[in-house]
């Protein structure tokens, strides 16, 4: 069950923005004080894939995500976003563990922020922000301020803000980790439905192997720092996933290898 509201004009047959391919080659990142975090990491993510990234705390998942977003530069190797031939420059969106909204703005203007920074006019960006808010089921809360929202609602505003530019790649760093289990499952459902609908590339960092398997088509488990890929596996579950899947034996079977790799990664 999902409270997703499909916005008009975003039906399944509407044109899709599509995703970009992520190509990480021998990426190296060293921090003064904490040493080598990434040491020759290779990763290739096909355009439009939903990938979950797992690994021990401090192994370099956020570092990798920041490199992909261009918020940080690699000390060696390369991190590239490859748009399909003829497509425009990749649009990147990033969702943090906390919602990080601007508390002085209402929900609508928070969701419209990326468009505002891109120079889109006021009426236009508000209309698009409203569509994005409806996509996450928050069309009614547009005039409220963040302080008046629950944690789950704030996170959905954050998601709407990320989606408002129709990103070709969506990076999420433990986005729902601070929420209660039920809210989190509901947001997982919404996120997956949005991905099926919009077709962007998604890199999703999480500490929960259940969340990873439920959401992604492909799961990658990293070792302790410096991060190496311990497991890189497709998730063979149906495209349409619902809450009932969580108690399905197929689902439990998909979790096994992830759990083993995570345990192996924790070990010294």
């Amino acid at each position: 069950m999902t409270s997703l509201v499909l916005a008009p004009g975003l039906a399944a047959d509407a044109p899709r923005p599509g995703g970009v391919r992520v190509l990480v080659e021998r990426a190296r990142r060293v921090f003064a004080g904490s040493g080598v975090v990434l040491d020759g990491l290779d990763l290739d993510v096909a355009a439009g894939t939903f990938v979950a990234l797992l690994g021990p705390s401090g192994c370099g998942k956020s570092t990798l995500l920041r490199l992909v977003a261009g918020l940080d530069q690699a000390d060696g190797g390369s991190v590239k976003l490859l748009a399909p031939e003829g497509a425009e420059r990749p649009r990147i969106a990033y969702v943090f563990q906390d919602a990080h909204l601007l508390p002085w703005r209402n929900v609508l203007d928070n969701a419209a922020l990326p468009l505002e920074l891109a120079g889109v006019g006021r009426d236009e960006r508000r209309a698009q922000a409203l569509v994005a808010l409806q996509q996450v089921g928050l069309g009614d809360a547009a005039a409220r301020h963040p302080a008046e929202l629950s944690g789950g609602m704030k996170m959905r505003v954050s998601l709407a803000r990320a989606l408002v530019t129709r990103p070709s790649i969506l990076l999420l760093d433990e986005p729902f980790a601070a929420l209660d289990e039920l809210t989190r499952q509901r947001l997982d459902d919404q996120l997956r439905a949005l991905w099926l609908d919009l077709g962007m590339t998604v890199l999703f960092v999480t500490h929960s192997n259940a969340e990873a398997a439920y959401l992604a088509e492909r799961c990658i488990v990293f070792s302790r720092r410096p991060a190496r890929i311990l497991l890189d596996t497709p998730i063979d579950l149906p495209r349409e996933r619902a809450a009932s899947l969580r108690s399905d034996p197929h689902f439990a079977r998909a979790l096994g290898p992830l759990q083993d790799a995570l345990l192996a990664g924790e070990a010294p």
Binding site: L71, L117, T165
Partner: protein, 258 residues
């Protein structure tokens, strides 16, 4: 209503007791009025010299407000400049701190020299005394903008000016308001001290002049009345910044949620 009455009762009661005791002691011990006038005489001075006091308060208020406004604008601008670069901050912040420690009475004669006696020098004195808390608080606000939000603005290609206007300044507003709150009271002090030294010019004398001249005429009652006017002015400015801060921040900042 009842609760606010209950909250106001204790301080009001203690005030009445204090004034009563003061009045009684001065009368019983026959203290000369030029040393310590009874409250009733101070009240009478308020009535008798209402125009003088009112005009003096207005003169001082103008200088204090001008100094306060200068502090607000220049203080925030300086903080923005210092926050723009670590180098600038390292080069100039120590002098801002130094300026803060220079006693205003000591440089007031210099202000007369530079700006001539009168309201201009007085306003500058109010400014010098009140600008530092604005700089310090605004700077700390600008420095503590959430890194994730900075990243977000960077991700969407926002330039320096837009980041300043749409992110850094609004998110340091609570700190700036805190700085202004402190600056309000200080500006009144700076104006009065400025008037001690630089207030003798044409036009209506301010509270500082009144405070200086009243004892010479053995009008201690008028002195008390002028001091009360000065406190009321400081309180008024404090109240106004509080109200302004509340209006600006009530929708979003936890410090303003009742």
């Amino acid at each position: 209503m009842k609760t606010s009455l209950a909250a106001a009762a204790p301080p009001l009661l203690s005030l009445v007791l204090l004034l009563g005791a003061w009045e009684a002691l001065v009368r019983v011990l026959a203290v000369p009025a030029y040393l310590l006038p009874p409250p009733s005489q101070i009240a009478a001075a308020f009535a008798a010299d209402a125009t003088t006091l009112g005009l003096a308060t207005w003169t001082t208020a103008k200088s204090a407000l001008l100094g306060f406004a200068l502090s607000g604008v220049i203080g925030v601008l300086v903080a923005v400049a210092l926050s723009a670069s670590r180098l600038l901050e390292r080069a100039f912040y120590p002098y801002a701190v130094f300026l803060q420690t220079v006693p205003i009475v000591a440089i007031a004669p210099l202000l007369v020299l530079w700006f001539g006696p009168g309201e201009r020098a007085v306003s500058v004195s109010a400014f010098i005394v009140s600008v530092f808390p604005v700089v310090a608080n605004a700077l700390s606000g600008l420095r503590s903008v959430e890194p994730a939000l900075r990243d977000l603005f960077r991700l969407y290609g926002a330039g320096k000016l837009r980041t300043l206007l749409l992110l850094s300044l609004p998110s340091s507003l609570p700190s700036i308001v805190t700085g202004l709150r402190i600056a309000g009271g200080l500006a009144v002090i700076g104006a009065i001290v400025g008037e001690f030294v630089a207030g003798f010019a044409e036009g209506t004398p301010g509270l500082g002049i009144l405070i200086m001249s009243a004892p010479r005429q053995l009008r201690t009652d008028l002195l008390f009345a002028a001091v009360l006017c000065a406190s009321a002015l400081g309180l008024g400015l404090f109240g106004a910044t509080n109200l302004g801060g509340w209006l600006l921040l009530r929708r979003w900042h936890p410090s303003e949620k009742s």
